[in-house]
């Protein structure tokens, strides 16, 4: 959750009948209705989508035995590291 409290949602789009929903990306919205509206604006601007699903990122459970980071539990864990557990990195000397 951000300081402004707009949670993160994952967006799934089914491009046309006969296909299945595919993960398209994420966005921030205060509630489901706004998340759907925003998903339509962001991910179907080029009429790419027919059916849209939105899910709060925190509600997704993941199991990916191939990914071996000890931070994550092996089964039914979150898709991403939760932001509040993460210390913001120091400035990295970059180009």
């Amino acid at each position: 959750m951000s300081d402004d409290g707009l949670p993160l949602w994952e967006v799934f789009i089914r491009g046309r009948r006969g296909l299945s929903h595919v993960h398209a990306g994420s966005l921030h919205a205060a509630d489901e209705a706004m998340a759907l509206r925003n998903a339509r604006d962001v991910y179907t601007r080029r009429s790419e989508g027919v059916s849209i699903w939105v899910v709060r990122s925190q509600d997704i459970s993941a199991s990916s035995p191939d990914e071996k980071d000890p931070f994550f539990a092996p089964a039914a864990d979150k898709v991403y590291r939760h932001p509040t557990f993460y210390d913001l990195p120091e400035e990295v000397r970059q180009m």
């Binding site: 951000s2 509630d31 849209i52 699903w53 000890p70 991403y80 932001p83 990195p89 990295v92």
Partner: protein, 329 residues
């Protein structure tokens, strides 16, 4: 115990290195070195910030666009840039940061954005120059990133690159119309190119021998080609396009080397680059102030949306996971 952890860390690192060597994508739940993750967060976030800040110099001309068709094209382009910013913030968030944190770093100047946007758009032709040169340079930079080692970033870049080629074509087309138009229009186009050419070359960053971190980024698969390689590629692609446009490039030393097939070019003013990157460009203050104002003016709106959601959470408490929505055609 300690040895077990060290052994485990060693295995994880070996695995990470092996995946990079095999050109496998690293996904969010894979173990990764802290420095790899920190570098990615910074690079992706700064890329996202560039898209958002980059909206400003172009949005500057929406209300004054001189034809309805050009207005529609420009609005769609600026909207695309907002979308690209969103895709990139989303990619960064898979690494365990929150968009609000990243915006805060932008607003307090702890993270940067592409310095090209610290220049003003003082004429309509500047919109064309940005499309042709700046988006052209961005594409040159971005296409290799479609194969970068981090999955979410690579996938965001694929989406972005698909939409970006439209932008460059539109910029080129805008300039072509001006160049072939009235003398005043031709002059406007030439003046814009004169001001945007050198800053566009600076978009690729300092020369290779002054970019010490490039080697590490390349080892990590975050960077695929060097600054100088990309800059040369851009110049080689763009010089012939200028001829088609009937516009001169403001570099008397530009010349095709028949043996190498590459264009030789004049010296870039790296003092100007450093000065602008550090905050001394014409628009640095203005771009950040504009961005911060939008954010602060919107605080009450975001607060209202949050308050409403909290009040009505009980209503949709049963629909914990997915909600379907058929998009309005």
């Amino acid at each position: 115990m300690a040895e077990d952890l060290d052994e485990q860390a060693g295995h994880l690192d070996e695995r990470f290195v092996a995946m990079l060597a095999a050109d496998e994508r690293i996904e969010p739940r894979d173990w990764m070195p802290d420095a790899y993750r920190a570098t990615l967060i910074r690079q992706i976030a700064q890329h996202a910030h560039s898209e958002i800040i980059g909206m400003q110099p172009e949005a500057n001309w929406i209300t004054r666009a001189p034809s309805l068709q050009r207005k529609a094209i420009l609005m769609a382009k600026v909207q695309d840039e907002a979308g690209h910013g969103l895709y990139l913030y989303g990619a960064a968030e898979t690494l365990g940061v929150d968009r609000a944190q990243l915006l805060d770093l932008l607003h307090t100047r702890k993270q940067k954005y592409s310095s090209i946007f610290n220049y003003p758009t003082t004429s309509w032709a500047d919109v064309g120059a940005i499309g042709w040169l700046v988006d052209g340079a961005a594409i040159t930079n971005q296409v290799p990133l479609c194969r970068c080692s981090y999955g979410p970033y690579a996938r965001a870049m694929v989406r972005i690159c698909k939409e970006e080629s439209f932008h460059q074509r539109q910029g080129f087309d805008l300039l072509l119309t001006l160049s072939n138009g009235t003398p005043a229009q031709h002059g406007m186009a030439q003046d814009a190119v004169n001001r945007w050419w050198w800053p566009s070359l600076m978009m690729f960053g300092p020369p290779d021998d002054e970019s010490p971190n490039s080697a590490q980024s390349m080892a990590w698969g975050i960077k695929r080609f060097s600054n100088d390689e990309l800059r040369q590629k851009f110049i080689d692609m763009t010089v012939p396009q200028a001829k088609v446009l009937g516009l001169d490039l403001p570099d008397p030393e530009l010349e095709l080397d028949a043996q190498t097939g590459h264009y030789r070019f004049g010296a870039i003013d790296w003092d100007e680059f450093t000065r602008v990157v550090k905050g001394g460009g014409p628009c640095n203050e203005q771009r950040i102030a504009h961005r911060v104002a939008a954010h602060e003016n919107g605080a009450w709106v975001r607060a209202a949306a949050t308050a409403y959601a909290a009040k009505h959470h009980g209503v949709d408490a049963n629909s914990t996971a997915a909600v379907t929505g058929e998009a309005v055609a």
